[in-house]
């Protein structure tokens, strides 16, 4: 037996050795396979993987420039960038969005509107963009999330500068607002310069001066880890911040004007006639531009859109109103210049006017008539019959030509977006648009600022500034100067081109201005109630019909619904010796210019001329 065992032992030992050699060969072959694989990865494809590793590690990030600030003429800040914290979700990095949202709302208050905005933005943006679920977090909320952040991969708090308009609706119609860049804007903008920018000027000064306000994007190469967190900055090219804008606007005047309107709707524009600079531009009612910055809730936007008061509508630039009697000084000038009338020549006003050969009676606002009228009294008392006759004598062609000299019928070219040009009718216009010839009666009503004639408050203010300066036409502008980041002082913008109206005699200006002074100072002046002891005002009231009264009806204010009541207008400049401010005011459905619109202008002039401070 022992021999057998030993025999077995030897055989087993040999068998094992054979197997061990086989195993060793197996080990060798498998290790060779592994080494081949490593040669493949580390030697043959080394470059490829080095590139991938670099791509992993190094990211180029845009550094968005900070948007320029906007100041008023006295250094009051109108648009600034406030640091705020928002909670943002990157959908791509979140596994279960619904669950994440549900758990998030356990920590941070997330409202229905927040969710809606999130859903809406998610449709618009790319999957790897972070989308705000909550904006303007307070410090406590920031802290609460920070403690729990490990539970929410793909959710982070972002600190960023948010555009803020401290005066809110007071300046909304001038500055406009910024909002998220949308698809259409993406097509137009320089994508590389906007690569880190989320917001863009949507309208107003923010849009007109977008290029200056935005600045130049910077770049940085950063090393990031797998979570996308920046470990260090490898290279940096800092952004160039946007330029600050200095407006000619007087925020105090703007505030006072808005307040003086009270609950009434309308618009007021004040211009420095010497420079064309806009001092105030009010459109009532306004809206809060801050609502638009982070995306306005659709329901709020809907409410603003459908409100009968049209708060989003910029009346000062886009509102086209019949100028009513405020057109009379300009027509007077046309009459004097063409020698159709002289200042002293008298016409008799019986209370109505009839074209030769027609029975239709064109009424004066004063049914009993004004009696004999010269230019001075016709303007002072705003006699319609005098101007029916003057318009008739001038004819529509001359009327059109002279009124267009003052800029009626064309956009002023102001540096705020959305302006409209009003309407200055002509034979040619009527043929083209209405397909009918011009009728003589239409000339008459154009002479008192009714009919087809439409002007914007800005146009009226600009034309009034031209009256104040004996014919100096300057494109109105609201931005006076800019300052880029490496300057200490703002640099004034190139002044807009100024032209002089081809009016032959300075005396013609004086006649009209004298008459406008009497509107305020005369015994029977339609705006005598706003006379000031401290400075002298020249003005003209106007009342624009919204509702057409039939031939034998009488306009009774009480019987007409509020919406159809007359608009009250007033234009003025002061002081007459050396005009510093030219104003146009319109109060929608306000009634009479002298009683409603003129006091607003007086308040504005008091504030501006007397340097009254708030």
């Amino acid at each position: 037996m022992p021999t057998i065992t030993i025999k077995d032992y030897l055989r087993e030992s040999r068998l094992f050795s054979q197997r061990a050699v086989t195993a060793a060969i197996g080990v060798f072959l498998l290790l060779s396979l592994l080494i081949l694989r490593l040669v493949d990865l580390q030697v043959i494809n080394h470059e490829h993987f080095t590139t991938l590793s670099q791509d992993n590690r190094v990211k180029v990030q845009p550094l968005p420039p900070t948007r320029g600030l906007i100041y008023d003429r006295n250094g009051v800040i109108l648009a600034q960038n406030l640091p705020t914290h928002s909670l943002e979700i990157t959908p791509e990095r979140v596994k279960d969005l619904a669950l994440t949202l549900q758990e998030l709302s356990g920590i941070i208050d997330i409202g229905e509107s927040d969710r809606k905005r999130f859903d809406r933005l998610r449709q618009q943006r790319r999957r790897f963009d972070s989308i705000p679920i909550r904006v303007r977090l307070n410090e406590e909320e920031v802290a609460r999330f920070s403690v729990n952040r490990h539970r929410f991969p793909g959710v982070e708090i972002k600190a960023k500068l948010l555009r803020d308009y401290p005066l809110g609706e007071i300046t909304a119609h001038i500055l406009g607002y910024v909002g998220r860049i949308n698809q259409q804007e993406l097509q137009i903008i320089d994508n590389s310069n906007y690569s880190g920018t989320t917001h863009i000027g949507k309208n107003g000064v923010e849009k007109t001066y977008e290029k200056q306000l935005h600045g130049q994007v910077g770049l940085q190469q950063v090393e990031v880890n797998a979570l996308g967190r920046v470990i260090r900055i490898l290279q940096q090219q800092p952004p160039i911040p946007g330029e600050n804008l200095y407006l000619s606007l007087d925020a105090g005047l703007q505030l006072v004007t808005t307040a003086t309107f009270g609950e009434k709707n309308g618009a007021a524009v004040a211009i420095d006639p010497q420079t064309g600079q806009i001092l105030a531009l009010v459109s009532k009612p306004g809206f809060d531009p801050n609502l638009f910055v982070e995306g306005i809730a659709p329901s709020v936007y809907q409410a603003l859109q459908t409100s009968p008061d049209k708060p989003l509508f910029n009346r000062a630039l886009r509102g086209q109103y019949p100028p009513g009697s405020t057109i009379k000084p300009f027509i007077s000038l046309a009459g004097l210049e063409t020698r159709t009338i002289s200042a002293d020549q008298k016409k008799f006003c019986p209370g109505f006017y009839q074209l030769p050969g027609y029975t239709h009676k064109y009424r004066d606002w004063k049914k009993t008539g004004h009696g004999p009228m010269n230019l001075l009294s016709a303007i002072t008392q705003s006699c319609d019959v005098y101007f029916y006759d003057l318009a008739h004598q001038l004819g529509i062609d001359k009327l059109h030509d002279y009124l267009s000299l003052f800029g009626f019928g064309t956009r002023t070219g102001v540096d705020i977006t959305g302006e409209r040009g009003g309407l200055l009718p002509s034979r040619e216009w009527k043929k083209r648009v209405k397909k009918t010839p011009w009728y003589p009666g239409e000339t008459l009503i154009t002479g008192i600022g009714q009919g087809y004639l439409l002007t914007t408050p800005l146009q009226l203010a600009s034309a009034t500034a031209t009256l104040a300066t004996n014919g100096k036409r300057i494109t109105p502008r609201v931005v006076a100067a800019t300052k880029n980041h490496d300057r200490d002082q703002p640099v004034p913008l190139e002044p807009p081109p100024a032209t002089s109206l081809p009016i032959s005699s300075a005396g013609n200006w004086d006649d009209v201005v004298d008459a406008m002074t009497q509107v305020i100072e005369g015994q029977r002046g339609t705006a005598r109630r706003i006379r000031s002891n401290l400075y002298r005002i020249a003005g003209k009231t106007g009342t624009a019909q919204v509702f057409t009264v039939k031939q034998d009806e009488k306009y009774e204010e009480e019987k007409v619904s509020k919406k159809n009541r007359d608009h009250a207008l007033f234009i003025a400049f002061a002081p007459i010796e050396e005009p510093k401010i030219a104003i146009a005011v319109i109060v929608e459905n306000g009634g009479h210019g002298g009683s409603v619109a003129a006091p607003i202008a007086r308040r504005m002039m008091d504030f501006y001329l007397l340097q009254e401070r708030l």
């Binding site: 087993e12 290790l31 694989r37 990865l41 580390q42 993987f49 797998a226």
Partner: protein
Amino acid sequence: MIKTYQSSGLRESNPTRAEGVLADLHLDLPLLTGLVLLCGFGLVVLYSASGQDMALIQRQLVRLALAFMVLFVLAQVPPAEIRRWSPWLFGTGLLLLLAVLIAGQIGKGAQRWLDLGLFRFQPSELTKIAVPMMVTWFLAERPLPPAWKRLAAAGGMIAVPVLLIARQPDLGTSLLVASAGIFVLFLAGLSWRFVTGMIITAIPAGWVLWEWGMREYQRDRVLTLLNPERDPLGTGYHIIQSKIAIGSGGLYGKGWMNGTQSHLEFLPERTTDFIFAVLAEEFGFSGILMLLLLYLFIIYRGLYIATRAQDTYSRLLGGSLILVFFVYLFVNTGMVSGILPVVGVPLPLISYGGTSLVTIMAGFGILMSIHTHRKLLPT
């Protein structure tokens, strides 16, 4: 026979003082040197991979100390003693696996651990040694190569614990346990016909395993191996990032502690299963070759010890243990370099973590015991 000893380089007839001391302690100098060098290298890599985490290094040092202690203790136990333990150890291992399974069913979820209060114990680790011990013990009783009946019974001894572990589910460990058992069968002289037959049946078996035996995430891993871009942010992410780490290392590597893939956290599991990628990134192809040479030396020494062993039990067990060690190495490096699916197998003696370290060192303890408890046989 004595001649052979001398040619082995041990020169037991005239040992140096150091070798004499080591021999008295039942330690094998070449193997010990290889293991210490490897563990030292491992610590250097781990220091970088962990982001200079000294606390982590200290914890690993404690584990290493424990593992070497286990090695030392087992080296003192004569192979005959170890042989006697075999059935008991195997039985205990099976019972503990069942306990884990039941505990897992009560706890409703995957369970690999037994909480013993003081520490947590993973019974599957015990079976990594117990299964080859049992199979060897069973086969070595009778002349080799084994008869078919014995072979079938041995197959059962392997299959039961492997299936229990696979159910936990722990694919990596069940694979290692299975290979340990199969290596015993192979070294015991399993006929080549049978080996070929097994390979042929493995294909339909693989299909059955795929259809019914695998969990969703396990199937995912295999699919991801075939095409990592299938799920670049999910399971494929590991492989993509580790390939980038290895590939970008190049010939000489980015330098110690300069691996961007690992330090910037692109590489997942960088201190544990994917530490090989850290090494490849920082030390490059040349560093990897050094490491593989070290491993190769240890495997060579292990196989040599097994071949020189004096009885069948020692030979089979020793051979199986050292080949499992290679399987560890190959499965881990294969998965990290993207030629094998991602199964949770650590890089032996280098990956951070204690359980497998102790098991592996226990294996080497047995090898040392085999080599140092020799009797001078009569010629």
